[in-house]
């Protein structure tokens, strides 16, 4: 019965502690039958001490969170003015100039490596050769009568 009463008292005290954040009982109670002691904590009224164990997942103190001082940070610099200018410079020169002008340049390059010319020339030659009865292609790249070989040594 005494342990049961102890449990009840402890539970009531702990419930009070849970709702109010610290042990409400100002007195110390010692059990006559068991060795239980309910006492107000020595640190009542003081704040809980800082955790001395640093967990790995806590942000490292050296890591500076750029968003803390400047919630609109773009990630370039602590100084908000430089940060915004850096962002603008990157977007203007990177996107507006290089990507846009570069893409336009590449898209409108005239006849890259003469492919279109090659196609037109091939079609023209085929038309000519078919009209004149010549074979469309010959296996000789150059005219063999024009090649002068050295004498057999």
């Amino acid at each position: 019965m005494a342990p049961g009463l102890l449990g009840l008292c402890a539970r009531r005290l702990l419930a009070a502690a849970a709702t109010r954040g610290r042990l409400a009982a100002p007195v110390r109670w010692e059990s006559s039958s068991a060795r239980a002691v309910i006492a107000p904590p020595a640190a009542a009224g003081k704040r809980e001490p800082e955790p001395t164990v640093r967990w790995q997942e806590d942000p490292e103190p050296e890591d500076e969170n750029l968003y803390e001082k400047n919630p609109d940070s773009h990630g370039y610099d602590k100084n908000p003015v430089l940060d915004v200018w850096n962002m603008r410079v990157v977007f203007f020169f990177g996107v507006s100039i290089v990507l846009v002008f570069g893409t336009t340049f590449m898209a409108y390059m005239p006849d890259y490596r003469m492919h279109e010319w090659a196609r037109r020339e091939a079609e023209r030659l085929i038309k000519y050769r078919e009209a004149n009865g010549l074979p469309i292609m010959e296996s000789n790249c150059f005219d063999p009568s024009k090649i002068r070989l050295p004498d057999e040594d």
Binding site: W55, Q56, E57, D58, P59, E60, E62, D63, E64, N65, L66, Y67, S73, H74, G75, Y76, D77, K78, N79, L82, W85, N86, M87, V89, V90, F91, F93, G94, V95, I97, V98, L99, F101, G102, T103, F105, M106, A107, M109, P110, D111, Y112, R113, M114, H115
Partner: protein, 459 residues
């Protein structure tokens, strides 16, 4: 070319003489302006090269790579702004100087006419990259990574120097436009195989070929974001570009010398793709995926057919943009959680939905979704490889499937699922990060409508 090279060199005084608060604005602004000066090179009115001077030329192989290089510098500057924000101003200026120096060397490398100049600048690009990795990398492993990176590349390219000097002595000129017409002796001796190896090993290490790829995961993972971006996007392509130029003059020996490298690449692309499926480190996954894609490029260059050369060039440009974008995305995770472990920050779609959109698009590009230029490259290479040997389609098909698998694995692990309780404090995406992704993705999407410009000299 001077209209690009001189302004790029002048970015160094710009960085050092800028007011400290205008440093990033100035460098980003002027590097974006420089990137548009390279664009007129694209106006190739005929199908041979544009020879601007004795030193510099540009043709449809080097021009897309040049454009990629100049486009990447402002992106690197934007990506580095956050992790350098705590450093003293002189360190920031030094970092920008390293990036600009690297940029200058790369521009000159891609437009070099003379092969010795190409070689000197090829080696010179190692130095700023090494400084960036070893000084500004995140972990202690960066020193080892720097050593692997430097010595692998140096060991591969020292024979190249010997071979180039020998060719200069025997042929008389190393001008790229002239050596295409070099008449080879019809007798092949052991020396010609050794010469072929001396020429190619530098580029094989740079690409990297599967057996020589150990420097890549280390260097990519330990490098700071700008270092990873430039390594993945451009420095790897230096190897491909060099191979595409040199194989023109190596012709009859190439027929039998390429077999070991083809076998290594065919096997290596599957191996590295499979390793990707078992990676816990996000940057390491992207690094191994780079090896896998570059193995495709190596194979394409080895089999020397018109379609495969077109595929190789397309794949280089596409992979440059995609891989750089993936590294930027991984960096956005790293800046928040300070860890590269993939599962540490998962379920991000709920928390950062716009970043999830970029992740989705980057992963879809990486797995070569039609109609992206990644697919064009892979498809051309696969078709050319099939015509070279019917059996290779099995391995290539397996690789395409595993590429899709690990790209989706990376996407699902970081974005989908229930988020972990401990990432409640990550900051929302910055405009800077979204702009960075958009600037990577827009060229990729725009190139879908005009892929002729990245298909190289044989289209």
């Amino acid at each position: 070319m001077l209209k690009t090279i001189l302004p790029t060199i002048m970015l160094i005084p710009l960085a050092w003489l800028s007011k400290n608060n205008m440093l990033w604005i100035n460098s980003t602004m002027y590097s974006l302006a420089i990137s548009i000066t390279c664009l007129p090179l694209m106006n190739l009115s005929c199908d041979n090269s544009l020879n601007m001077s004795l030193l510099f030329f540009s043709d449809s192989l080097s021009t897309p790579l040049l454009l990629l290089t100049v486009w990447l510098l402002p992106l690197m500057i934007m990506a580095s702004q956050h992790h350098l924000s705590k450093e003293p101003d002189s360190q920031k200026k030094l970092y920008i100087t390293m990036m600009v120096l690297l940029q200058t060397f790369l521009i000159m490398t891609f437009s070099a006419t003379e092969l010795i100049m190409f070689y000197i600048l090829f080696e010179a690009t190692l130095v700023p990259t090494l400084i960036m990795i070893t000084r500004w990398g995140g972990q202690t492993e960066r020193l080892n990574a720097g050593i692997y990176f430097l010595f692998y590349t140096l060991a591969g390219s020292l024979p190249l120097l010997v071979a180039l000097v020998y060719t200069q002595a025997s042929v008389g000129s190393l001008n790229l436009l002239l050596i295409q017409y070099w008449n080879h002796p019809s007798i092949q001796v052991w020396g010609s195989s050794a010469l072929w190896l001396a020429y190619m090993m530098a580029f094989m290490v740079k690409m990297p070929l599967y057996g020589l790829h150990l420097w890549l995961p280390k260097a990519h993972v330990e490098a700071p974001i700008a270092g990873s971006m430039v390594l993945a996007a451009i420095l790897l392509k230096l190897g491909g570009y060099g191979m595409l130029r040199i194989t023109v003059m190596l012709n009859p020996i190439t027929n039998f010398m390429t077999y070991p490298f083809l076998m290594l690449s065919l096997w290596g692309m599957i191996m590295t793709s499979s390793i990707c499926l078992r990676q816990t480190d996000l940057k390491s996954l992207i690094a191994y995926s780079s090896v896998s894609h570059m193995a495709l490029v190596i194979m394409a260059i080895m089999i020397q057919s018109p379609w495969s050369f077109m595929g190789a060039t397309a794949l280089m440009i596409a992979h440059g943009l995609t891989s750089s974008m993936l590294f930027c995305l991984a960096n956005s995770n790293y800046e928040r959680t300070h860890s590269r472990t993939m599962i540490l920050a998962r379920g991000l779609q709920m928390i950062l939905p716009l970043m999830a959109a970029w992740w989705l698009l980057a992963s879809l590009m990486n797995l070569a979704l039609p109609p992206s230029i990644n697919l064009i490259g892979e498809l051309f290479v696969t078709t050319a490889m099939f015509s070279w040997s019917n059996l290779s389609i099995i391995l290539l098909g397996i690789n395409i499937i595993i590429t899709a698998l690990y790209s989706l694995y990376m996407l699902i692990t970081t974005q989908r699922g229930k988020y972990t309780y401990h990432i409640h404090n990550i900051k929302p995406s910055f405009t800077r990060e979204n702009t960075l992704m958009m600037l990577h993705l827009t060229p990729l999407l725009l190139l879908m409508v005009k892929p002729q410009i990245i298909l190289g000299t044989l289209y």
